[in-house]
């Protein structure tokens, strides 16, 4: 019986896999290059530049000119792009235009904060979503299924900030259980950090749960309609065993894809949660830098987000192939 990863049926063709990975990485590099051009064009197309937005109402024509000259913003766009690309290829991300800090410093701890929050939220949300998905598939159309679906679909239907404010109002202001803002500093222990991010983590869990859970449920129900499941049931295998051992492994492929999509979202799409909880992540940096047209910072954070999407998609595809013997052993 083809149960994918679990019994390792068929021989994993390592050579094909490596070739696929290399090909995909090659494509990714091209994609990133195109994205960097798109980011550059996008920021250029916005009205105003760094000099104007930093000086704001205090700007004078001559100070704006001097500022532009200092930052080399007076050079034509393609010259600036090529000079940025030249540095970037050599591993030099450059410095922020607004406060001259090296971008690696600026991004380093924010990226680790972003990844920390995303990882903790994923560790809660992914297993929970899959377990609930399996359970709702198992007990589909019961009261339990309806309640879980209704609650999780309601949570996904509300905007994130609304959920965040409700959680803050209840758990922070009313009950004083958790801090309402999640500020981080270097001296905090892991436990302190985990305690600090309880509310943002809970918010994100509620936001991403429904998508993964519904996908798991749908995929399993799909598989349950196939003849071999009927066969298993007729042979007297218990429903739980049928779902977990026979149906779920074959439903993995779409589940992996939707999990990867949501994990990418947890890294790159959480700027609103960051703002509401004052969490010093990469999203806030990106938004501020776009507002101020600080192009090197926008490029660096934009490319990190793009890499996360590309990387997670690549992993998801590879896992899908690995979990599906038909894809694993193409004829």
């Amino acid at each position: 019986m083809p149960t994918g990863l679990l019994n390792g049926g068929g021989s994993l063709n390592m050579k094909d896999m490596t070739a696929t990975i290399l090909k995909r990485i090659g494509h990714s590099v091209i994609t990133l290059f195109v994205i960097s051009i798109l980011i550059f064009i996008g920021v250029e197309a916005l009205p105003g530049d760094l000099a104007e937005s930093i000086l704001g109402q205090n700007a004078l024509p001559e100070t704006v000119e001097a500022f532009r000259k200092e930052l080399k913003l007076d050079l034509p766009p393609h010259v600036r792009y090529i000079s940025w690309l030249g540095d970037f290829v050599q591993g030099d991300m450059g410095r922020s235009l607004s406060n001259h800090r090296p971008i690696t410093d600026l991004i380093g701890w924010r990226l680790s904060n972003t990844l920390f929050l995303a990882a903790v939220a994923a560790m809660v949300a992914v297993p929970l979503a899959i377990i609930l998905g399996i359970l709702t598939a198992l007990y589909r159309n019961t009261l339990f299924d309806r309640i879980v679906s209704m609650v999780s679909l309601s949570a996904i239907s509300f905007p994130e900030f609304f959920i965040a404010y409700i959680l803050i109002a209840l758990l922070s202001v009313k009950l004083s259980l958790f801090p309402s803002i999640a500020t981080m500093d270097g001296q905090m222990s892991l436990m302190d950090k985990l305690y600090t991010i309880v509310l943002p983590c809970l918010t994100l869990t509620m936001v991403v749960l429904a998508h993964m859970m519904r996908q798991t449920r749908a995929a399993i129900i799909n598989v349950l309609a196939t003849p071999y499941i009927e066969m298993a049931l007729l042979k007297g295998v218990s429903r739980l065993r049928v779902v977990v051992v026979h149906a779920f492994p074959n439903a993995l492929s779409p589940v992996i894809n939707v999990v990867a999509l949501n994990m990418a979202y947890l890294v790159a799409g959480v700027v609103i949660v960051e703002v509401v909880f004052v969490y010093p992540g990469l999203g806030q940096l990106l938004v501020d830098s776009v507002a101020k047209r600080d192009l090197p910072v926008v490029q660096a954070s934009g490319l990190i987000f793009a890499s996360v999407y590309i990387g997670l998609n690549l992993i998801a595809d590879l896992l899908s192939i690995a979990s599906n013997p038909r894809l694993r052993n193409p004829r």
């Binding site: 009205p47 000086l55 205090n58 607004s98 001259h100 803050i168 202001v173 803002i181 004052v278 010093p280």
Partner: protein
């Protein structure tokens, strides 16, 4: 029995205009004189205490913030800068220039040459002793053709700076300016060690009451008290932690849950709920912050004064203060001087909402069918609400105002002073001269209505070099009259600064020059 705490709290909770404060203080002074025996040692205990960590939640923070004095612009950086560094001159809560790094100053009779004597033995955080070279370097940083400084418009009047010995700096101005010391209080013009360049700016070296321990732009500033601070009775906290919290709900929640001790920019819509919370004090400070609706006086139809007057009569200022500012402000009278300013011209009658007069002027200008496009933006949370109300007020006067929403990005470069009619605002300036010369004279760097009045230019120039207060008062009264009657600017209202703190936070009278006690809270406030 008079309790000191009680007699100061009404000022700080509600309407703490300077005038009211002085009234209250004199009442207090009077009773103190009458009942000296009834005051036990408690008066002493009410004085500033040392210690504690003051945690501030600040809106107006950006990850692009910098401590280079040229580009300082928003709340988070201004406050950090004033905590770390000093200026030659400080403007106190009464709006008077008092010595800071300059111990005293002197001026030539034409107000062109200003001599500042520096305080001796003041040390920077890095151990260097302050001298004239540092002052010259710090001010020159903003001057010259390559300057990108936000203060360029202010320092352009300086012709030359030179040292006279180690402890005296002489400024020669291009024209007389009796208010020159006030300019030296500007947050761009803080004094740093000579030679500060590039990345050194972000180290925040100054002479100020706190030293910089951590600086994560827009996120967190962590300061410790400078044990070596030259001022007595200032910088009371052991540590100051500033958190950049741009979301007003997040700030409010952080204050409610005790994560911070102070927040700036309270939400006007919900401040009455916050007021009810025990242990929280709402601080309302009136100052010179005002909104304007500039009309370009050199472009049709606003080159016709009747068109300007029609619009000036078609706005209900009272309702804007009531609805948009929720009562936290006062009506404007189409000139930039606020009611409690020493040079406020009280004899100019308050312009009222008068649809009939608006119709009259509109007809006189022959513009009854004209549509007036008003360019507005969500750059400031007040703009859209104000513009929407104005549109309704105008409709009742038969005036067609059409709202055009512009993006906040690039608003100051592409809309302001470019579009014939738009929204704008001004933070207080320490002197009437600065306000007039920047925004209303024909040479003004930010003459937002393109006003050209020879008489106004002449008055402002003469008053600037005038050292006799009575003559200046007369000149500034006429300036206000000219702007009120002929100017291209509608000044609907002055906005109060509304902030909140826990009752543990103690403070004297608060300055309305800028937010957060003119951004000297870390230096001036203390814990009970």
């Amino acid at each position: 029995m008079i309790d000191l705490k009680q007699s100061t709290s009404p000022l700080s909770t509600d309407s703490i205009s300077r005038r009211k404060f002085l009234k209250q203080m004199s009442a207090l002074g009077l009773s103190m004189a009458v009942l000296p025996g009834m005051f036990p040692g408690s008066a002493q205990a009410a004085g500033p205490q040392k210690g504690g960590r003051f945690r501030m939640g600040m809106g107006g923070s950006h990850t692009t913030d910098s401590l280079n004095t040229q580009t300082i612009a928003d709340q988070f950086e201004i406050h950090t800068n004033y905590a770390l560094r000093n200026n030659l001159v400080e403007v106190d809560h009464k709006g008077e220039a008092i010595p800071e790094l300059a111990e005293s100053w002197d001026v030539s009779s034409d107000a062109v040459r200003w001599m500042f004597d520096l305080r001796q033995g003041v040390e920077f955080h890095n151990g260097k002793t302050l001298d004239a070279e540092d002052v010259i370097y710090s001010i020159r940083h903003h001057m010259g053709p390559d300057s990108k400084s936000g203060a360029k418009g202010l320092v352009d009047q300086i012709d030359d700076i030179r040292a006279d010995g180690k402890n005296r700096v002489i400024f020669t101005l291009k024209g007389g300016n009796a208010d020159f010391p006030y300019i030296m209080n500007d947050y761009h013009l803080s004094i740093v060690p000579a030679g500060t360049t590039g990345n050194q700016w972000e180290k925040g070296i100054g002479t100020g009451g706190y030293t910089l321990e951590e600086w994560e732009p827009g996120v967190r500033t962590f300061l410790k008290r400078n044990p070596n601070y030259f001022k007595q009775g200032r910088a009371h906290f052991d540590e100051v932690e500033m958190l950049g919290i741009n979301d007003v709900n997040a700030r409010t929640n952080a204050l409610k849950t005790g994560r911070i001790d102070y927040m700036n920019q309270a939400e006007l819509k919900t401040v009455r709920l916050l007021k009810r919370m025990p242990g929280i004090e709402i601080m309302k400070t009136s100052g010179g912050f005002h909104f304007t609706l500039p009309m370009l006086t050199d472009i049709s139809p606003f080159d016709n004064n009747d068109a300007r007057l029609a619009l000036k009569h078609a706005i209900d200022r009272e309702e804007i203060v009531k609805q948009v500012l929720r009562g936290y402000g006062t009506v404007g009278n189409d000139h930039p001087i606020q009611k409690d300013h020493p040079f406020f011209a009280a004899d100019i009658p308050q312009r009222q909402y008068d649809p009939d007069k608006a119709k009259f002027h509109l007809k006189k200008a022959g513009l009854t069918d004209q549509t007036f496009p008003l360019h507005t933006s969500d750059l400031n949370s007040i703009y859209l609400d104000m513009a929407t109300l104005f549109k309704e007020h105008g409709r009742k006067a038969g005036l067609k105002i059409q709202l055009i929403k512009e993006p906040a990005d690039g608003y100051w470069s592409n809309v302001w002073t470019k579009k014939p009619f738009c929204n704008s605002h001004w933070a207080a300036r320490p002197t009437a001269d600065m306000m007039f010369s920047l925004a209303y004279t024909s040479q003004g760097k930010w003459n937002e209505s393109h006003l050209k009045s020879a008489r106004l230019d002449e008055l402002v120039k003469a008053a600037r070099a005038e050292l006799d207060p009575a003559k200046r008062r007369a000149a500034y009264a006429e300036c206000q009259m000219i702007i009120h009657n002929e100017g291209g600017t509608i000044v609907p209202c002055f906005k109060d600064y509304v902030e909140a703190a826990t009752t543990k936070v103690q403070h004297g009278p608060i300055s309305g020059l800028l937010e957060t006690d003119a951004h000297r809270a870390a230096e001036r406030w203390w814990f009970a």
